[in-house]
Structure formats: C-alpha cells, structure tokens
C-alpha cells in the first residue's frame, strides 16, 4: 500500500517536471526602500505560486492549472501549456524575512524590502 502511494507521488512530480518552463513577463519598480516585481502569470492561482530566495538568487515559479478540459477539441491554440519559472540574480541585499507577495488576476506582486545595511545613508559633515 505505502509503496503505491509513493509511486504515485513520484509520477505527479515527473509530470510537473515534464512540462516545459517558460519565463514569464515581469517588471521591476522602485519603491522607497523596496523593490516590487510584478510577474504576469495567467492561469496560476495563489496556491501554486512559489517564491524562493536562496543566497542572492530569487526564484519565482508558477504551476499552471490546465486551462481547458480534456474533452475539448482544439480549434486554434496560442497559449503555451507550460509552467512559469523566473530566476533573477539580486544585486542588492534583501530582507528575506520581510518579503511579501500577493496575487491578483494572474499577476504576482512580490515586494522585496532592501536590507537595512544596504540602504543609502546620509553622512553628516562635521
């Protein structure tokens, strides 16, 4: 029994990995002491988006649910059947604990606060 469950889990993992990855469109905005990245990932809901910060690398992944039923017959197709993956190298130190994200209408908004140590500082001249 238990081996069977494990096997199934492996299968779904394989399936996810088999889907090609496409790089989503994104835009970076400057906020006060933070950056905001808007990533366009249509078809990805809140639960299937994953944000990882490892060292100075930010990885945003989105697993897309199938946008058509199996019984539908395709007439014309432009939308790729693929998952999203965006890897960005961060130049600036980020406060990883305070990273926040929200998802709305297929756009994932990630706010990356700049770490205290990396913020610009005024130095007084005596």
């Amino acid at each position: 029994m238990s081996t069977e469950v494990a096997k199934q889990e492996n299968q779904t993992l394989e399936k996810v990995r088999d889907l090609p990855m496409v790089s989503p469109r994104y835009r970076v905005r400057n906020l006060d002491h933070a950056y905001r990245i808007d990533v366009q990932m249509p078809g990805v809901n809140r639960e299937s988006a994953r944000i990882t910060i490892e060292g100075d690398q930010l990885v945003i992944e989105g697993e897309r649910s199938q946008h058509f039923a199996d019984s539908w017959q395709a007439v014309h197709r432009e939308i790729a059947v693929a998952n999203y993956r965006l890897v960005l190298d961060l130049n600036v130190q980020i406060d990883a604990d305070k990273v926040s994200a929200r998802s709305e209408n297929g756009v994932l908004q990630v706010t990356l606060p700049v770490a205290e140590a990396a913020r610009p500082r005024m130095i007084e001249v005596n």
Partner: protein, 165 residues
C-alpha cells in the same frame, strides 16, 4: 564575434531604452551567458517580435498590443480562452455581434510613480464564431487572469443519435 562580447554588447544596447528611469541601483543582474547561454538571443527575439501581453508603454504604442487566445469546441459548446493578466473583471468587455466575438480590456494607469508614460492600455481581439450559437446563453468567466468564454451551440447543430427503426 565571440559570444561573451556579443552578450555584453547586447546588454549595453538594451539597457538604454528600457531603463531610462532614474534608478539608484539595479536590483537585478541580467541573465547572462553564464546563467543561460540562450538568454540574450531569447531576449532579442522577445523584444523584437512579441507584443502579446507586453507591459503598457513597452513599445510606446497603446492600442496595438494584443493577448493570446485559444479556441476549443466540444459537442455542446465553443470555448474561447484568453490570457488577460492584470485586468479586473470590470475592465473586460465581451461582445458578440454578427457572429464576431470581441474581447476588449482596458486598464488605467496604476497611479504610481513612474507610471506617467503608461497612462492607459487598451487591448482588443475579435474572433469569428460559428453562426449557430445561442447568443443569449453565452457566458464568460475570469479566473487568475484567464478569461473563458463559453458559447453554447444551437440545438440543431449538436450531433444527435438517430435511431434505426
């Protein structure tokens, strides 16, 4: 030209038009040849030929931008699925007239700093649909930036089993 030099050349070229904004420091290093050997070519290609789903103001034109859509059918319905990330339900208009389905979406500026150049974005696409659909029963649903329009086929166009007597 060796690839490294090509890569740095391309980076320099691209940084100008798209990063005019007065950024104090750059958050993100570009994908480079060390990360991904094809990234530069991919980017050139994307920027040159693709306008689907482009960010507002990307090309400096507002109405030509478009979005991707799929079309499907089964026995009972026709389906149109369109990618409209970032659009709210109330920003999207679906219209059926003379067997032409038009999906248009409009987004106003987000009212944030640096948004002045991208005051609004209009996208629109029209698809010819089959004559025999029940126009009063067309439904549209928006979920995670994907719009699905369901157009029920007219009763007389559905496949039907004929009994042999």
């Amino acid at each position: 030209m060796d690839l490294n030099r090509l890569a740095s050349f391309m980076q320099n070229v691209q940084l100008k038009p798209f990063h005019k904004k007065e950024e104090t420091m750059r958050l993100i290093k570009y994908d480079n040849i060390a990360n991904d050997a094809w990234s530069e070519l991919d980017r050139m290609f994307e920027r040159a030929f693709s306008d689907a789903g482009a960010w507002p103001g990307f090309w400096g034109r507002r109405s030509l931008q478009s979005f991707r859509l799929d079309s499907y059918q089964d026995e009972a319905n026709h389906y149109i699925v369109a990618e409209l990330p970032g659009f709210d339900r109330k920003d999207i208009q679906v219209e059926l007239e003379n067997e032409v389905l038009t999906i248009s979406a409009k987004r106003e500026s987000e009212g944030e700093e640096g948004a002045s150049r991208e005051s609004s974005l209009n996208v629109s696409r029209s698809v010819a649909v089959e004559k025999a659909i029940q126009a009063d029963k067309v439904q549209a649903k928006l979920e995670n930036g994907l719009l699905t329009v369901t157009l029920p086929k007219a009763e007389e166009r559905r496949p039907r089993m004929i009994e042999v007597s």
